[in-house]
């Protein structure tokens, strides 16, 4: 069924878009207190993603909605089965989402520091927990013949799933640190670059381990495929480019690492959607979990019309806010009415 495969690709693309775009937002959220010594610097870091993060997070919402609409059983089994992970994920998303808006709204150091902590922790939880959930799809959890999850909480935290989470956290950290380096000036930029260089080695190691592990969990042996090879080469390139202070190209490299890591994960998953550790006959697949042909056709039309439009106006947003942000902009106490 060709349309179901098309929607698998759409879903994989949405998750990839989410990690490429929101990836650096999450990194900035985790790092904003570490790249600055003062409030002006922290605000500079946060304001590099200020106009962007909300639109970027929609990629997650649409990814989940696409799963619901195109593969209702995937959405149903995964979201009910991974309940505890998703509760924590929601808590992370909520505290992170409001902390952007709330942290600067009261003139009190304690208030601001509280939201800084929540922003940092929330930004850490999101990639970690999404990674655990995605890793679980490929690693497999107990699922019976009626596509119901039959395991318990321990089944959600397999070694591979946790490592997927850790890898995504590291990738977001590297992506975010590189982004801050690219988008700020002065002391904040210097500290972000130094941090990016320190984050690079563990990230390289994680990617080097993650690609063959993924490929072998998927049953393809330890030899990586082309996408995975590109991911490995790109993460090495990112480390090298950061060492040479080419933050622009380094950002291109971290973008490629994230994109190929997520895409190759989904390529390894295909045609399965969710592996059953009980019996591979109970796997959820593109074929046994998709919506009917008419629903998929309608949504394909909607996606083909609106997706380019979304890319166009989000791209334009990045163009509008292309200038670097400097801490000096935030030294003045006057903040308009906001």
């Amino acid at each position: 069924m060709a349309l179901a495969t098309f929607w698998f690709i759409v879903t994989a693309t949405l998750w990839t878009g989410f990690f490429v775009l929101e990836g650096f937002d999450l990194g900035v959220g985790m790092l904003h207190t570490f790249v600055a010594r003062d409030e002006a610097g922290r605000r500079a870091a946060i304001n590099t993603i200020g106009p962007l993060w909300d639109g970027n997070e929609v990629w997650l919402i649409v990814a989940a909605a696409a799963m619901f609409a195109a593969f209702p059983s995937w959405y149903a089994t995964m979201f009910s089965g991974f309940y505890p992970v998703l509760i924590l994920l929601l808590v992370g998303l909520i505290v992170r989402g409001v902390s952007f808006e709330f942290r600067g709204k009261v003139d009190s150091t304690r208030w601001v520091r509280t939201w800084d902590v929540l922003l940092t922790v929330g930004s850490l939880l999101v990639p970690l927990l999404i990674g655990i959930a995605l890793g679980g799809l490929l690693h497999g959890v107990p699922i019976d013949q009626s596509q119901e999850f039959t395991g318990d909480i321990a089944d959600l935290f397999s070694g591979y799933a946790v490592f997927t989470g850790i890898t995504l956290v590291l990738l977001c950290l590297l992506h975010g640190a590189t982004f801050i380096t690219l988008r700020t000036t002065g002391a904040v930029q210097d500290r972000a670059l130094a941090l990016a260089r320190r984050i690079a080695p563990p990230t390289i190691l994680a990617v080097l381990a993650f690609q063959p592990w993924t490929h072998s969990v998927a049953g393809g042996g330890v030899l990586p495929d082309v996408l995975e090879l590109v991911a490995v080469l790109a993460v090495l390139a990112a480390g090298w480019l950061l060492a040479g202070r080419h933050e622009g190209w380094a950002f291109v490299a971290t973008t490629v690492v994230i994109a190929t890591t997520v895409l190759s994960f989904f390529a390894d998953l295909y045609p399965r959607l969710m592996v059953s550790s009980t019996d591979s006959a109970f796997d959820l697949t593109v074929h046994n979990s998709a919506s009917g042909g008419y629903a998929l056709k309608v949504m394909s039309v909607v996606a083909i019309v609106f997706f380019p439009l979304v890319l166009a106006y989000q791209g334009w947003t990045y163009h509008v806010f292309r200038l670097r942000v400097s801490a000096e902009q935030f030294d003045v106490p006057d903040r308009g009415s906001g």
Partner: protein
């Protein structure tokens, strides 16, 4: 409490909470866009100040609305996986469309509006706030199309192999009579909410005497929008009642606690007792013919009683009770309608003061207007209780019972834990949001930027 009770409680709590913020986002979004349009056309500095003042309230509100919306999207799969599995083919499509066509628009242009004050040409910047408002309203359209399908399923066939509904005509989802009236009703209710909030804040400011000219302008805008909009909301709501009465007779019979079929039917202003199984409540002040008129649009219209519909449903769907909680049904309808009358009267009072040019000094009105802010939130909540409780025991009318929609693999303890987590988190969030909104609503207007300098961005 069983898993299903807890899951229902969780859905009710998170939905009601989410919908405290949604109508403010939609209503205040359009009003802020109107203020900025006014500034753009006239160049009046006070309209710019007001745009940024109410824009700040708007974004605090949007922040909570967005994060609580995430919970809504995830919850279908987490707590209602059997429902999601059964109806995802139909119900999922409008949700995916919402993300692609509306939510991307709203979120991306919100960023552009907040941070684009000094980057975008004024005309383009004005367009961004309109796109935020349109995106919010469009978002509600897709969600309402999905919800209306649960009230009155259309545009589907049942797959013979799986027994699940499959979409076969997407156009019917968006021409569903329940959707057309329900969506209009929600948009009008949102404009009511936004304008009452703007009126209340302006009244507070006028009472304090800060920037009286500016807040007089804001109060005037709020009143001019409020009165026609609440009248329209009441009319459309009454039409929606007739439509729902046709497809969901239990909902309307329940709203009057009408156990026996009647023709013509009177409407009781109040009743005493009349709980779940009390078929003989004491009705106080019954207005003849009014229920017939409300439920059927006819002076002598016939309204099927709960017992008659119950007998019919038992024949159609098998044994069991198909009667919703009548107490909630009866009172949610009255709370919504009576408070609407109160809001209308406050609006008319304000318009009269405006006409007599006494709005700025009318201290008694200011005091009343401030407290009126609470009412739209009660009305919105009551309206949703009426709609959702009235569908029970169905999760999708005639297709799936609520008790069959719950997740089979999720334990009672898990739902209970998450209910506690969300309750605490939402309570904390409510306190913070309320403190921030009241704090910013009571601030003085920030001075306008000097001539020839760009308007600064609203940064974090």
């Amino acid at each position: 409490m069983s898993q299903i009770d807890l899951a229902r409680l969780q859905f009710a709590m998170t939905s009601i909470y989410h919908f405290l913020f949604v109508p403010v986002t939609i209503g205040l979004g359009f009003l802020t866009a109107l203020l900025q349009t006014g500034w753009h056309r006239s160049g009046r500095a006070d309209l710019l100040q007001l745009t940024r003042f109410f824009g700040t309230l708007l974004v605090i509100n949007i922040a909570v609305g967005v994060v609580t919306g995430l919970v809504q999207e995830f919850q279908f799969g987490m707590d209602w996986s059997a429902y999601s599995r059964t109806v995802g083919d139909v119900f999922g499509a409008p949700l995916a469309m919402e993300g692609l066509a509306a939510f991307f628009l709203e979120s991306t242009f919100l960023g552009l509006w907040l941070f684009g004050w000094d980057r975008l040409p004024p005309r383009v910047h004005l367009a961004t706030i309109w796109l935020v408002a349109v995106g919010g309203a469009l978002s509600a359209a897709f969600i309402m199309a999905a919800n209306s399908w649960m009230q009155h399923p259309v545009g589907y066939t049942v797959d013979q192999a799986t027994g699940r509904p499959q979409l076969d005509d997407v156009w019917k989802l968006f021409t569903n009579p329940v959707f057309l009236r329900g969506y209009l009703h929600v948009i009008l209710a949102s404009l009511v909410t936004g304008s009452v909030v703007m009126l209340a804040v302006s009244a507070w400011q006028l009472r304090k005497g800060s920037s009286p000219l500016a807040f007089h302008a804001a109060a005037r805008l709020a009143l001019v929008v409020l009165v026609p909009v609440i009248l329209a909301a009441m009319l459309v709501g009454s039409e929606l009642g007739v439509t729902e009465g046709k497809y969901q007779p239990m909902k309307i019979a329940g709203a009057e606690a009408q156990w026996d079929t009647c023709q013509p039917c009177s409407f009781s202003l109040f009743q005493i007792s009349g709980g779940k199984n009390d078929m003989t409540p004491t009705q106080i002040i019954a207005i003849p013919h009014l229920l017939s008129l409300l439920a059927t649009n006819h002076w002598n219209g016939k309204v099927l009683g709960l017992n008659a519909v119950q007998a019919q449903y038992e024949q159609q769907y098998g044994p069991g009770s198909y009667i919703p909680n009548i107490f909630i049904q009866y009172w949610s309808m009255r709370v919504m309608a009576y408070l609407a009358v109160v809001v209308l009267l406050v609006g008319l009072w304000g318009l009269w003061l405006l006409w007599r040019k006494r709005l700025s000094a009318a201290h008694r009105f200011h005091r009343v207007a401030v407290w009126t802010a609470v009412l739209p939130f009660l009305m919105n909540t009551a309206g949703w209780l009426l709609t959702e409780n009235g569908r029970q025991p169905w999760i999708v009318q005639g297709i799936q019972l609520t008790r069959n929609g719950v997740s089979p693999s999720v334990s009672t303890a898990t739902v209970a834990t998450s209910l506690v987590v969300f309750f605490l988190l939402y309570a904390a969030l409510a306190v913070v949001a309320l403190v921030l909104i009241t704090r910013y609503a009571r601030k003085q207007l920030a001075p306008p930027p000097a001539e020839d300098t760009p308007v600064p961005a609203l940064t974090y």
